[in-house]
């Protein structure tokens, strides 16, 4: 059910992918700021998003559909703004907004713990670390390397081709009723309403996730804990050794200049 009956979904998808590539190419930083190119890029980006919305499937309820649309638009638009913004600080802030959108998508998908963990761990801890480093290392003003990009045309085309192929295969996957049927439930879970709501949508979903994590995946949890410790020690070791190496470099350079 598309508003333009003469266009097949495949053609809409191809148009949307092309518009996305052109929009990214126009919006990526390229030295000087050109207002006309910027507006054209925004219009093309909106067209690409509209194409993807039209080819998307209709969800069950209107409310669910509206919420999913809003949070996924927030995630994708802020994600695009992350890569086209010249200032890295604004980039990080757009990325935080994108994380909020992703958390919303995860909540719509029924992953309550992960939605909250994305906000707390990513936006609260990892992103703040990025901002600390940016504030330590970023010179005042826009650096020249923030105002140019490497091969914007080729990169935009590569990303759009990847997106087009992925959308194509996802569309074929979802159209095939036999490919991704849900596996048979446990016999105990098949009661009148437990058949409708699966394990991941139960009321005590977070408790069940914890049980799964510390039951079946206990060894992996331990390995992840060791990994965190190793990363911590490794980061400290790199700092400690790096300063010594930096001193050596300076001494070498000074010695070379004297000679």
């Amino acid at each position: 059910m598309t508003p333009l009956p003469s266009l097949s979904p495949g053609m809409i998808l191809a148009g949307a992918v092309t518009a996305a590539a052109a929009s990214l190419w126009l919006l990526l930083p390229r030295g000087s700021e050109n207002r006309i190119a910027r507006r054209a890029g925004l219009v093309l980006g909106a067209a690409a998003l509209a194409g993807f919305i039209v080819t998307g499937r209709r969800l069950g309820g209107l409310g669910e559909e509206a919420v999913f649309l809003v949070v996924s638009l927030v995630a994708v638009i802020s994600g695009a703004a992350t890569i086209v913004t010249r200032s890295p600080v604004y980039s990080a802030i757009w990325f935080a907004l994108s994380l909020a959108g992703v958390a919303g998508v995860l909540l719509v998908l029924g992953a309550q713990f992960l939605g909250v963990a994305t906000i707390v761990v990513y936006a609260g801890a990892i992103l703040v670390m990025f901002l600390f480093v940016l504030m330590l290392a970023q010179p005042s003003g826009l650096a020249p390397y923030d105002r140019v990009s490497n091969e914007p045309l080729l990169s935009a085309v590569a990303g759009a081709v990847l997106l087009g192929l992925l959308s194509l295969s996802i569309g074929r996957l979802a159209a095939d009723p036999t490919c991704c049927a849900a596996p048979a439930r446990q016999p105990a879970a098949v009661t009148a309403d437990a058949a409708a709501t699966s394990d991941t949508l139960a009321v005590d979903q977070v408790a069940r996730l914890g049980g799964e994590l510390f039951g079946r995946h206990l060894l992996a949890v331990e390995v992840a804990g060791v990994l965190l410790l190793v990363a911590l020690i490794g980061a400290i070791a790199v700092v400690a050794r790096g300063e010594a190496a930096l001193e050596d470099d300076r001494r070498l350079a000074a010695g070379g200049a004297r000679r």
Binding site: T82, F130, L154, A174, T200, L213, V238
Partner: protein, 153 residues
Amino acid sequence: MNPLLAAASTALLHNALIVGAMLFALGLVGILTRRNLIVMFLCAELMLQGISVSLVAWSRHHGDFGGQVLVIFVLTVAACEAAVALVFVLQAFARTGRLDAAAWQGLREATLARTVDHALPASDASPPQWPRLSTAGVLPPGADHDSLEREHV
């Protein structure tokens, strides 16, 4: 599972997978094209977000927790990666004074062309108007006021 519910589940899976693919593609474009090391890491995190959305969508579709458990480990590895990578970025900054990936192009393959920056306009951004706050308290001794302020971010 009745057919109507199965169709709705497949539609949600389809849409969420598309959103994940879009986030992944955006992160890919960013990591290919941006030159600021920190923005490149942000783009890598954006790709991880796309993967997380896809994994949770499959988890919802199949009704088991495998995808969500994987996303928890993705979060863990992303935290480790950010810690170690930011240390490397800071060390690189201490050596070159720039957050530019092209500052390290001496490490490229011998057959690749050198990245050359052509002349750029000095700065085309109009200076932003920050709000002026009234002074509260006293300045700490020895603080050079002007050097602490940023004109741009």
